[in-house]
Symmetry: C2
Subunit: 255 residues, 2 copies
Amino acid sequence: MAVALGRYEREQGISVGNAVKLSDFVLKSLRTAIVSGELEQGSLHSIYQLADRFQVSRTPVREAVLRLADTGMVTIERNRGIRVQGLSANEIRRVFEMRLLLEVPAASHAAAVVTPTLIAELDGYLLAMREAVDKSDSDTFFSNDHALHDRILSTFENPRLNEYIHTLRDTTRNMGVSTTHHSRTLLAVGLEHEPIVAEIRAGNPQGAAAAMADHLVETGSLLIAQTAGLDADFASSAWAASVLAQLPLPRVASL
Amino acid sequence: MAVALGRYEREQGISVGNAVKLSDFVLKSLRTAIVSGELEQGSLHSIYQLADRFQVSRTPVREAVLRLADTGMVTIERNRGIRVQGLSANEIRRVFEMRLLLEVPAASHAAAVVTPTLIAELDGYLLAMREAVDKSDSDTFFSNDHALHDRILSTFENPRLNEYIHTLRDTTRNMGVSTTHHSRTLLAVGLEHEPIVAEIRAGNPQGAAAAMADHLVETGSLLIAQTAGLDADFASSAWAASVLAQLPLPRVASL
DNA sequence: CCATCGTGAGTAGCATGTTACTCGTAAAAC
DNA sequence: GTTTTACGAGTAACATGCTACTCACGATGG
């Protein structure tokens, strides 16, 4: 018990009222293992097995698995095991459709209620992202990427919205990391944020919406292409058309 | 009820692969208890206590509580207990803002891809709702209400979207039941669905979007007024303005 | 009277025990 | 050889044991 607990976190802290829960640790580890392909898609595992892998008891593993099942990354087959669903191209499409529905209006709203403070914050994130690209520091890059999107969403003052987008992002996190085109992709994605902030600064809701839509479609297309390979259904950016058509965009120019 | 439900399934069951999980039962019961006010807002409870109430062990209760904490209905205070957060007026506002962001484009999309089959299904739900109103059968009414919204959403062919709306609806479920104005409210809400279907039938995306927006704003306002009482901040329908402004509506006529 | 400290009841979180179930496998029946 | 049946390994779900922690409350010291 205490022995098993000692493995991972006792070092980092004098403990005290440490809010870090073992189930959270397992949740994060499991998601990473799935997204990175360490746990093969379609494979079947058991709570016992995973508990052994992470050197914890079955309880926190079970709790983490239940939460992953809620998001659809695994399915639980009673008395059989845990099936890893991974992320199909279709699943990625769904995630980015949701993000389009929510983040495009958010960008529009941010432009409508823009303040100097908001711009200063967004510029700060952009700057940090540029520096991270220069240093090929993907961790810093992604965390500031996240912060920028999060700040735009928060103009709705709806924590529930921010939280949901956070889980959607988590689902596809780390997918682009350590590919051969890594740094190039990183740079390109980073550049796409500039027009979003520029349009918000200008107080142009429709422009901000269009820029955000472009960014999300481009990012989603990259991840889908990477997952689906040459799957013809997703070769173009047509996957987002049905959603884009319902959004308040001036005209979907770049698509 | 808790007593009778306690040893609840051993009897009914040749069982077989019964998919009913105890934790799901507890989750549903807890949510009902919270929304109905049985578990007072702001009150503190413990896993032991709740396990005793539902006549099950602590494990399924804990799992249910963790999932409720994910949706924000309770907060977990370590070594202290479970704090019931209930639903403030602000929280209801947030739920309906999310629904506006997602369901208004969905109505628009449904109108854009309308088929005779879709119309037939929606008409079926409408008919069932009218009959349910006549018989004051709120269960049937709400289930068809849900089915209608669900069918409109499903035109996006994105199960993740349907599922999320489902959880949002669950959060505010049962709130309007057994009030003094019950049947009148039921009737009014039922009538609001007719224009939505009419606009979808006509293949008019903007009209469908506007009708859906009207419906959601009206429903949300009712629940907010009921919760907030005379709270001035929510007296009008202004709560939705910031969201509505970012949606693809022809003009927000009725507000 | 007021502040400090100790203590014990109560709790969430983690570990472990228990049970009914699923399904592959192989023996048995044909 | 083919089908049927019996069995056991392995599992999720549930029950229970255990521990470090929190905090109200009362005793003690000022």
